[in-house]
C-alpha cells in the first residue's frame, strides 16, 4: 500500500469531510424539526394525522435512500411546471436535493425513535401534571419531552451515526463529500485501495467520535443518584 499517496490525498479528503459534516449537521437539524411533529402525529387522536404520519414514515423507512435521492434529484425534472417554478433554483442543485432526501429520511427514522421515547413516559405523570393544572403544551415541555429525549437518546445516537454513513450517497449525485473525493482520486490515481482505505479511516474516526460524544451526553443526562 502506498502510504505516501494516502497522506498526500489527506487535504482533499478533509475538504470532503467538511462537505459531509455540513450535510449531516443540516440534515440532523431539519430532520429533527420534521421528526418531532411526526412523532406526535403518529400517536395523535386524529385518524387523518395518524394515517399521514404513518404513510410518510412507512415510505421513507421502506425504500432505499438511493431511490429517494434519485426521485428528488432526477425525478422532479419530469414536471414541466416545476422546472419553470421558482423552486427549480433549489431543486436543480444536487446539494439541496441530497439535503432534502437526507432530512426526510432521517426525519422518518427519528420520528419512530421519538415516538418510542414519548410512549415510554408513564401516563400517570401526565395525568398528575394535568391535575395540578398544567396545559397540554406545558405537560409536554416540562414532563414528557425531557424524559422522552433521555429515553430515546441511545437510539437517536445510532440514527445520527447511520446518517453519517448514509451521507456517503451524496457522491452519487456528484457531490464532493468524503466518498465523492475518494472516488475521484481513485479514478485519477488508479489507487482505489489506498483512497478508499483513507476514506474509511476518516469515517471510522468520525463515527467513533460521535458514539463517544453520545455516551458522554447520556451520562450527563442521567441523574447522579441513579448512576452505576
Amino acid at each position: 500500500m502506498n502510504v505516501e499517496l494516502m497522506i498526500d490525498s489527506l487535504p482533499a479528503l478533509l475538504s470532503g469531510l467538511v462537505v459531509t459534516l455540513k450535510l449531516v449537521a443540516a440534515a440532523l437539524v431539519v430532520g429533527f424539526v420534521i421528526a418531532l411533529p411526526t412523532a406526535l402525529a403518529r400517536i395523535s387522536r386524529h385518524a387523518v394525522l395518524r394515517g399521514l404520519a404513518l404513510g410518510y414514515v412507512f415510505f421513507f423507512r421502506g425504500t432505499p435512500l438511493l431511490v429517494q435521492i434519485f426521485l428528488i434529484y432526477y425525478g422532479f425534472a419530469q414536471f414541466e411546471a416545476l422546472r419553470e417554478s421558482p423552486f427549480w433554483t433549489i431543486l436543480r442543485e444536487p446539494y439541496w436535493c441530497a439535503l432534502i432526501a437526507f432530512s426526510l429520511n432521517t426525519g422518518a427514522y427519528s420520528a419512530e425513535v421519538f415516538r418510542g421515547g414519548i410512549q415510554s413516559v408513564p401516563h400517570g405523570q401526565v395525568e398528575a401534571a394535568r391535575a395540578i393544572g398544567m396545559s397540554a403544551a406545558t405537560v409536554f415541555r416540562r414532563i414528557v419531552w425531557p424524559q422522552a429525549l433521555r429515553q430515546a437518546l441511545p437510539a437517536y445516537g445510532n440514527e445520527m451515526i447511520l446518517l453519517v454513513k448514509a451521507s456517503s450517497l451524496a457522491s452519487t449525485v456528484t457531490l464532493m463529500d468524503i466518498t465523492g473525493v475518494a472516488r475521484t482520486l481513485a479514478a485519477q490515481t488508479y489507487m482505489p485501495i489506498e483512497m478508499f482505505t483513507a476514506a474509511a479511516a476518516i469515517y471510522l474516526a468520525l463515527t467513533y467520535a460521535m458514539s463517544w460524544g453520545i455516551i458522554l451526553l447520556e451520562r450527563k443526562l442521567t441523574p447522579k443518584e441513579t448512576r452505576l
Binding site: F58, F59, G62, T63, P64, L65, L66, V67, Q68, F70, L71, Y74, G75, F76, A77, Q78, F79, V164, K165, A166, S167, S168, L169, S171, T172, T179, A182, R183, A186, P192, I193, F196, T197, A199, A200, Y203, L204, T207, Y208
Partner: protein
C-alpha cells in the same frame, strides 16, 4: 401486472437480481455472523481482537465505501495475484460477487453482535445442566444453544436484513443490473424519471412488506411453546 410503457418486465428482471443478491448476502452473512460471534465469545484473545476489529470497521464505515473498496480493490487484487502466477491478460471481477461480498461482510458484522447477545441471553445454568447430563459441547451447541439463540436473534436479524435489502440498491453504483440499475436504464429511454423511480420505490416497499411478514411468521414459529409468546 404492470406494463410501465413496456419496461415492466425489465424492472421485474432487476427485482429478481435484487432478491438473489439479498438472499445470497443473507446466507453468507449469517455464516460470518456465527463465526464472528464464536470468535468474540472465544477464550483466545487474538480471536476476540480479530472479531472486534471486524465489527468495528464494518459497522463504522459506510456500506457504499465498502462496496467500492471490495469492487475496485478486488479487481486490483485478483489481477495482481493472477499476474504473479504468470497469467497475462485482464480478469474482470463480477459486480454481483463484489456486491455479495460487501453486503454479506456488513450483514455479518451486525449479525455477530446480535448472535453474541443471543448466546449470552441463554442462562448459563442450562449449559451446566446439559453438561451434567453428559452432553458433549457440540451436542449442547446444537440442542440447547442454537434453538434459543435463533429465537433471541430473530428480531435483530430481521431488522438488519431489511437494511441490507435496501442497501442492495447501492450495488447499482458498480454497474450490477439489479432493480435500481434497470430503473435507470428505463429512465434513459423514457425520460420519465419520477414515474420509474417511484415504481422502483414501490417494488422495494413490496419486498420490505414481504420480508416483514416472513419475519413475523418465523418469530411466531420460533416462539411456539414459550409461555405467553406463541402466536402473540
Amino acid at each position: 401486472m404492470f406494463d410501465l410503457e413496456g419496461f415492466g418486465d425489465l424492472l421485474l428482471q432487476g427485482t429478481l437480481v435484487t432478491i438473489e443478491l439479498a438472499i445470497m448476502s443473507l446466507v453468507l452473512g449469517l455464516v460470518f455472523g456465527l463465526l464472528g460471534a464464536a470468535m468474540k465469545l472465544s477464550p483466545a484473545w487474538p480471536l476476540r481482537l480479530l472479531a472486534g476489529l471486524y465489527t468495528a470497521v464494518l459497522r463504522g464505515v459506510p456500506e457504499l465505501v465498502v462496496i467500492l473498496f471490495v469492487y475496485f480493490g478486488g479487481v486490483l487484487f485478483v489481477n495482481g495475484v493472477a499476474g504473479a502466477l504468470g497469467h497475462d491478460g485482464y480478469i474482470d471481477v463480477s459486480a454481483f460477487a463484489a456486491g455479495v461480498t460487501a453486503l454479506s461482510l456488513t450483514f455479518g458484522a451486525y449479525a455477530t453482535e446480535i448472535f453474541r447477545g443471543a448466546v449470552l441471553a441463554v442462562p448459563a445454568g442450562q449449559r451446566e445442566a446439559a453438561r451434567a447430563c453428559g452432553m458433549s459441547p457440540v451436542t449442547i451447541g446444537f440442542r440447547i444453544l442454537l434453538p434459543q439463540v435463533w429465537r433471541f436473534a430473530l428480531p435483530g436479524l430481521g431488522n438488519t436484513f431489511l437494511i441490507i435489502l435496501k442497501e442492495t440498491a447501492l450495488v447499482s453504483v458498480i454497474g450490477l443490473d439489479e432493480l435500481m440499475r434497470k430503473t435507470e436504464i428505463a429512465v434513459g429511454y423514457t425520460k420519465k424519471p419520477f414515474t420509474f423511480f417511484l415504481a422502483a420505490a414501490f417494488i422495494y416497499l413490496v419486498l420490505t412488506v414481504v420480508v416483514m411478514a416472513v419475519q413475523r411468521g418465523l418469530e411466531t414459529r420460533a416462539n411456539r411453546g414459550v409461555a405467553g409468546r406463541a402466536g402473540a
